[in-house]
Symmetry: none
Subunit: 166 residues, 4 copies
DNA sequence: TATGAATGAGAATTCATTCAT
DNA sequence: CATGAATGAATTCTCATTCAT
């Protein structure tokens, strides 16, 4: 999966009203800039996942986190490229990504354990599925609110398919 | 939604072992090339949809077409950019896209009429959802077969969520 | 003096609704085309000069020919580049050019002999002066008629300066 | 009137032993480069015209300025294209051109008032006439000195025709 | 002989990166 | 440590000319 439009350090400099070379000093590569930009959003996601784990109901925890995460990825355009980046391409965010994947996995495992989630879906599927939902919501260009609303609708369908029924 | 890596007419010429200007004569713009490349795949999709409509069971028709379409989009990398292109950016494929969307809509309507598909999902959602499934399958780089297999697994989940249960 | 915009054989072909290669067959170089296009106008000029020599009054003959020649050069855009071309660049028109220059010279000599023209102006000056008048008339873009009218006004001034007064 | 050989920014860079993009930074268009190159010559012309206006004799002032201006245009090849450019094609030199035309006009008006210049020739004719003289001197390729000498000879004739005789 | 598609050299232009200030 | 002008490689695109039909 390619990373989409590579970040132009020159443009970043202009946008930030800062010299080009200043940007180069801080972020030797576009990837470094991307990781820096994406890190706060990532940390927020991780802390959301942490909190979700505290939820008493496994299914609710998984569902609510997915809603929150999807919203976040729609809102912060720097997150998608990081998720889509080849492993090890972004060393500084690798650990965050792994932590997030692990938390996602625990949320899913809980749901599995509770008999609430389809056991054919594994931990490794969660991030791709979330990215797919966000991508689907972006296919037709629209205002951010509309994209968020579509993402939620699509997520509702996905969760319906993910949930194990009695 | 951006169109992904823009096609380089120069590279296309080198790849095709043909003069640069030959490519420019035939495809004045990268879009023209993309459309030409994507058209056969599109036509195949349209004919698949046509055939699917003949299926006696509405849900089976929708499901089988989705499997076929997803496989095709995974296999033919020129299709995704066309689906993701802004309306009217690719004039020559606009009509094909509309036909496909319409056929998708009829398959969905049949399923709605048969009480088999969630009425909250509309015709306009089908292409995005299919693209989302393909995107999800591409998030982690993998061999084409693996990607196709993942896409099918994700599609199974999606269809589960889409289907109305008694 | 450069020859101005070089003739584009490709454009010539399109304009003539003829294949590119056909033009290349007939006119291997842009210069060959230019010469072919310019020849009829040149021949007309030469015959005008011939007729002018028959005029009884030396000054009238020179003057009237200059008016006719200036009009012709304004009207036929192919003539200026030929006049401005380096000697020997256009072999096929060289002889015509020389004949015209010689006739110009005889008209001037007659006027000199009649004491009507400034003896400091020589045969070699006539073509450049005529070209200068045409150029001056073309400096400010205008409709062909206006350019012709300006050329005549400028020529009147030039003739006034050229004429020897008693 | 076309602007003659268009300046090639690429060549300019090579000639100046400077990076291509450096030229593009400073002169986004060939016109910008032309204007920059031509401006000093233009300013010199304007100041010559200013000084000429101080001359006590109207005819002498006009004549001497024409000599100076013609010499300058022969010597500085960047001036002709600017004079020949369509109005507004070269925004940065438009004002200089207008100032020069106006000064030319005042010199001519003074000569008209003194009964020294043909009233049929107007302010708008001066620049074209000067350009025509320079063009005539350039028709036959020659060393710069010869071209300057020819231009002066032609200018003498023109001035003779322009001057009103008692 | 006429055709026009193919050619590829070269011109125009952009952009990530470096470096002198 | 910040700056932005300079760089030149890479890319896009044009055009005169050739060549297979």
């Amino acid at each position: 999966m390619d990373e989409g439009t590579p970040i132009q350090l020159n443009d970043a400099a202009r946008t930030a009203s800062v010299g080009v070379a200043t940007v180069y000093r801080h972020f030797p590569t576009p990837e470094a800039l991307l990781e820096t930009v994406a890190t706060p959003g990532f940390e927020t996601l991780v802390s959301h996942a942490d909190q979700a784990l505290a939820d008493g109901d496994a299914w609710t925890a998984l569902r609510d986190f997915l809603f929150a995460a999807t919203d976040a990825v729609i809102a912060d355009v720097s997150l998608s490229p990081v998720f889509a980046a080849p492993v090890n391409a972004l060393p500084h965010t690798t650990e965050l990504k792994q932590r997030l994947t692990a938390l996602f996995g625990r949320l899913l495992d809980q749901a599995h354990a509770a008999g609430a989630a389809d056991p054919r879906v594994t931990q490794a599927d969660m991030v791709p599925l979330m990215c797919g939902v966000v991508y689907a919501a972006n296919v037709h260009p629209a205002a951010t609110e509309d994209r968020a609303a579509n993402a939620r609708r699509y997520l509702v369908v996905l969760l319906e398919g993910l949930r194990t029924r009695a």
